[in-house]
């Protein structure tokens, strides 16, 4: 949504040097530098990914608030982004994420079988984490790999044309 005259920048009452770690700040700054200075908030998506990776794969409201302050944007705008996209998780996650695509092509090619298989074999429902904390099962929208459906994203790596057995092998390889 674009606002006619919404405040582009919102100054928060915090010292930016106290936010995050120096490494994280450098990483976020690299993204900020890609945009015109008054469009700092364009870096919100990569910044959220950086924060999520550094925080065990999920985001807290505090982290989002800090990012809002860091990018001079309203906190609710950060929540809007983080709740919209499937790649951001707002609850504690397992050590790995098994993301099974369940959009049209993958569904026609058997992704539901994959999901059922994982649910039964590992005792997790979609959105849940295995009892040993090894992985979280996620159902995601089209991964853009329809040609080789069904597709699964393991953490950040794509695996295509999967059968339940092939998926098992992959999961077995996870610590």
């Amino acid at each position: 949504m674009s606002f006619r005259n919404a405040p582009q920048a919102v100054a928060h009452d915090v010292n930016k040097a106290d936010l995050f770690t120096p490494e994280i700040r450098t990483a976020i700054d690299a993204h900020i530098a890609k945009y015109p200075p008054e469009w700092k908030q364009s870096a919100v998506m990569p910044a959220l990914s950086i924060l999520q990776d550094a925080h065990g794969g999920w985001l807290t409201t505090d982290l989002m608030n800090d990012l809002a302050a860091y990018l001079d944007m309203p906190a609710v705008s950060v929540y809007e982004v983080a709740t919209f996209y499937g790649m951001y998780d707002l609850e504690p996650q397992g050590r790995h994420k098994v993301c099974i695509c369940n959009s049209i092509s993958c569904m026609l090619n058997g992704s539901e079988v994959l999901i059922e298989h994982v649910e039964h074999k590992y005792g997790v429902k979609v959105g849940e984490t295995t009892a040993d904390g090894r992985f979280t099962l996620k159902e995601v929208e089209c991964l853009g790999a329809c040609r080789d459906a069904p597709a699964v994203m393991l953490n950040k790596v794509y695996h295509e044309k999967l059968t339940p057995e092939a998926l098992d092998t992959l999961i077995d390889g996870l610590e």
């Binding site: 005259n5 919404a6 405040p7 609710v76 919209f84």
Partner: protein, 799 residues
């Protein structure tokens, strides 16, 4: 835009400006296009798709229906809003919107005035093809004013855009996606902006409704009556919804010159005070300390006798500045008919040294609608968002358009736009203005010349001066309620005038109450006669009335311990007086103590009358409901009193006749803020440079007796009695956040909790006035001392 083009809508040729949206042209032509997300005052979201129409340009049809709210017009555009293709698209959208909308109209407060219901009648199918499960959304608590039923939300995002664009607080948002999308704050917190109630009107469905009004009436039981808001100086145009003699709720009426299409929460929710339990419903006389109910004739005869017998030089009339023009005029006539010129409406002012120079018809200095076009606005002593919520919105519009907003205040304001704020103690405010004047090369005369001469402008002062100069005449210097309450108001006024003149910008007042401007026209002023004519001799202004113990007092529409600048002195003066008659709509404890006779008068909505707003516009209204019990409209009470006192010319048939008589006297009056004499302001500054100064800002929802009695507004944050100090100041005094402190102001004392607040100037303590707890204190701005109370006291235990 000069070059108009012609387009065709449903076969009708319509004139349009290039770039306008189809829906705006259609609205102007009275062609109705269904819509949910479009609103003329908000940005275009085009997300509901209800406004789909068929169109072609230059003979080439658009391949699919286009949203009328987001399609700009161009030469040769033809639009069909009711063609089979358009209707089919609209029906399909309607079907989608209803998929997740609950079928709970019978228990929905919006039922009967719901845009979705209306449009569904026109475009909806009668059978739903959707047999899957509907979604349910959890509600969020948005505070005491706005009720939520978010399952009904159709995601038009009007509320989100309102908060971001008009209120300037990005608090609401749309989180989640698809079926999981929901409108809310994500982290539940109350929406506290002073204009937030407008989302109730904006929401096309029953997702956001009014909490106080909820489940009390159905729209088809209500009768609409036009009225004018009785609180701030803007005079928003209102539509009162009445059922069986009771105001059930308040909506805005559109008026571009005044309130556009908005009203503040104060104007929207204060009506609840009318229906409270403490209305004064019968005339009463105190006999030997006992209150006795009496007949009107007895009460008025008694009052007439006492007033006639009293020495007019020892009588005083205090009139609320939100009384109607008719009431003020008649009261002023009676007072002067009795030979008494001690009459005043400036209840929250303490410095009257400039009375001889003050303009006769002070006003905003420019029409309200011109505020957004200013290039620079200097606010002096104004907590603008609390005092004038909608003028603050106009100023924000100017700021968004690139204007510079400058402030000289004893506290830093939370403005939702760019601003430059000079924050200093009340004493320093005088020096700040002198420094700005010096930076503008202004001289002034008398005391001012000394002040200006002695000042050394800092960069901040010079920057303010330059900004004003660069506005090229498109600027204004405005004095607010905190300036008015200042012990050196006359100096602030004179300096502000000098600054405006030197910078070549306009100068104006932010009239604190609905009829502050009108009171000057009505002659409710010791130095001004009706029609804004100067009086030959200036009599006692309210300050002097309290100093000189008067024997008789008339109080009109006010509570002496809340509505007067110095609550302690006002109560003491009432106690000293031998005879006090209070005309009031409310049976306040302070009136029971202070008065000898209580006369019940109609409140807002219960009398006809006129208010003159900040822009000098006369706005008349009719009574919408009858006053409760024996209470009578104030002008009628005064008419009878005038006759009982044998004063001539009190045979008015209706309030319009009173207004016409006054209007004839005002024929020559034009709003003008130039001081009447060039005579130098006399006297040194009255305020101590050292020590701690109280700043008693009046919270938004404590302004007048009516708004203080609205239960929902009383639950809003910000109205609690407390002491706020800058951390440095607290450290200097050895006080900490949460301490319980005793406030001593002259002989007056009170106790309160202390809060640390970095927005407050060092040397200043923000201690609100007009709220419960503040009654015992003195002037709104004045020297105080604070002392920590070690043991917990009764007050602090309650707090």
């Amino acid at each position: 835009m000069t070059d108009k083009i012609n387009i065709e809508i449903d076969g009708r040729v319509c004139e349009a400006a290039p770039g306008e949206m189809i829906i705006a042209v259609a609205d102007r032509e009275g062609i109705s296009i269904p819509r949910f997300c479009y609103h003329k005052k908000l940005s275009i979201a085009a997300n509901c798709r209800m406004c789909l129409v068929e169109a072609e340009q230059g003979g080439r049809p658009f391949p699919k229906p286009v949203p009328a709210c987001a399609t700009p017009v161009g030469e040769g555009l033809k639009v069909w809003t009711r063609s089979p293709k358009a209707i089919e698209a609209q029906r399909a959208t309607m079907e989608f919107l209803l998929i997740n909308h609950p079928l709970d109209c019978p228990i929905c407060d919006q039922g009967g005035e719901c845009e979705l219901q209306d449009v569904a009648m026109g475009y909806g199918g009668d059978v739903s093809r959707f047999s899957e499960r509907k979604r349910v959304v959890l509600d969020e608590d948005l505070g005491p004013l706005i009720a939520t039923d978010m399952t009904r939300c159709i995601h038009c995002t009007r509320c989100v855009r309102f908060c971001a664009e008009i209120a300037g607080v990005r608090e609401l948002g749309a989180t989640g996606r698809g079926e999981d999308m929901r409108i809310g704050t994500y982290i539940a917190h109350a929406v506290t902006h002073e204009l937030a109630g407008n989302v109730i009107d904006l929401c096309p469905v029953g997702a956001l409704t009014s909490k106080p009004y909820r489940f009390t009436a159905r729209p088809w039981e209500l009768t609409g009556r036009d009225s004018i808001a009785p609180h701030d100086g803007l005079g928003s145009n209102l539509r009162l919804h009445v059922r069986r003699g009771q105001v059930m709720r308040v909506h805005p009426n559109d008026n571009e010159a005044v309130n556009e299409t908005w009203i503040s929460d104060r104007d929207r929710f204060s009506y609840a005070g009318l229906n409270g339990a403490d209305r004064l419903t019968v005339p009463m006389i105190k006999r030997e300390g006992e209150w006795q109910q009496v007949e009107w004739t007895d009460a008025l005869t008694h009052v007439a006798e006492r007033l006639k017998a009293a020495d007019s030089a020892d009588t005083g009339w205090l009139l609320a500045p939100n009384a109607t023009l008719e009431e003020l005029y008649l009261a002023a006539r009676i007072a002067r008919g009795l030979g008494c010129d001690n009459i005043d409406h400036r209840l929250r002012q303490q410095d009257f040294r400039a009375d001889a120079a003050d303009p006769l018809f002070p006003w905003l200095g420019l029409p309200v609608a011109e505020l957004p076009r200013q290039r620079a606005i200097l606010l002096i002593g104004s907590h603008i968002r609390q005092e004038q919520p909608l003028l603050a919105h106009r100023i924000r519009q100017a700021a968004l358009d690139g204007a510079e907003v400058l402030c000289v205040n004893p506290l830093e304001l939370e403005l939702n736009h760019r601003s430059t704020q000079i924050v200093s103690t009340p004493a320093r405010m005088v020096a700040d203005l002198a420094a700005i004047a010096k930076a503008l090369d202004a001289r002034g005369s008398g005391v001012m010349a000394d002040l200006i001469g002695a000042s050394a402008p800092t960069d901040a002062h010079t920057a303010v001066a330059q900004t004003l100069q660069q506005a090229d005449g498109q600027g204004v210097v405005l004095l607010g309620a905190l300036a008015e309450a200042h012990p050196d108001y006359s100096l602030l006024k004179a300096l502000a005038g000098v600054i405006a003149e030197a910078a070549g910008v306009r100068f104006g007042y932010l009239p604190a109450a609905a009829n502050s401007v009108g009171a000057h026209l009505a002659g409710a002023h010791p130095a001004i006669l009706p029609g804004a004519h100067p009086a030959e001799t200036t009599r006692l202004a309210i300050g002097a009335m309290f100093d000189k113990p008067l024997t008789s007092l008339v109080l009109w529409g006010l509570e002496p311990d809340r509505d007067v600048i110095d609550a302690a002195r006002a109560m003491a003066a009432c106690e000293r007086a031998k005879f006090v008659v209070a005309c009031s709509a409310f049976d306040a404890p302070s009136l029971r103590t202070a008065a000898d006779v209580l006369l019940p008068i109609g409140a807002f909505a219960e009398t006809s009358g006129t208010f003159v707003n900040a822009g000098g516009i006369w706005q008349s209204f009719q009574g919408a409901v009858a006053p409760p019990g024996e209470a009578r409209p104030g002008w009628k009470v005064l008419r009878v009193l005038g006759n009982l006192l044998d004063l001539s010319g009190f045979e008015y048939r209706d309030s319009a006749e009173v207004r016409e008589e006054l209007a004839a006297l005002c024929a020559e009056a034009t709003p003008d803020n130039t001081p009447r004499t060039n005579q130098a302001v006399t006297g040194p500054t009255l305020i101590a440079e050292t020590g701690l100064t109280r700043v008693g800002a009046v919270p938004c929802y404590a302004l007048d007796p009516l708004v203080r009695r609205a239960p929902a507004l009383a639950r809003m944050p910000g109205a609690e009695f407390s002491v706020r100090l800058h951390p440095d100041q607290a450290a200097e005094l050895g006080l900490a956040d949460g301490d319980c402190v005793r406030i001593t102001q002259g002989t007056a004392q009170a106790e309160a909790h202390l809060f640390i607040d970095t927005r407050i100037a060092v040397g200043t303590a923000l201690i609100p006035a007009a709220v419960s707890g503040s009654e015992g204190l003195g002037a709104m701005i004045g020297a105080i001392t604070l002392e920590r109370l070690s043991g917990r006291t009764a007050y602090c235990e309650r707090g």
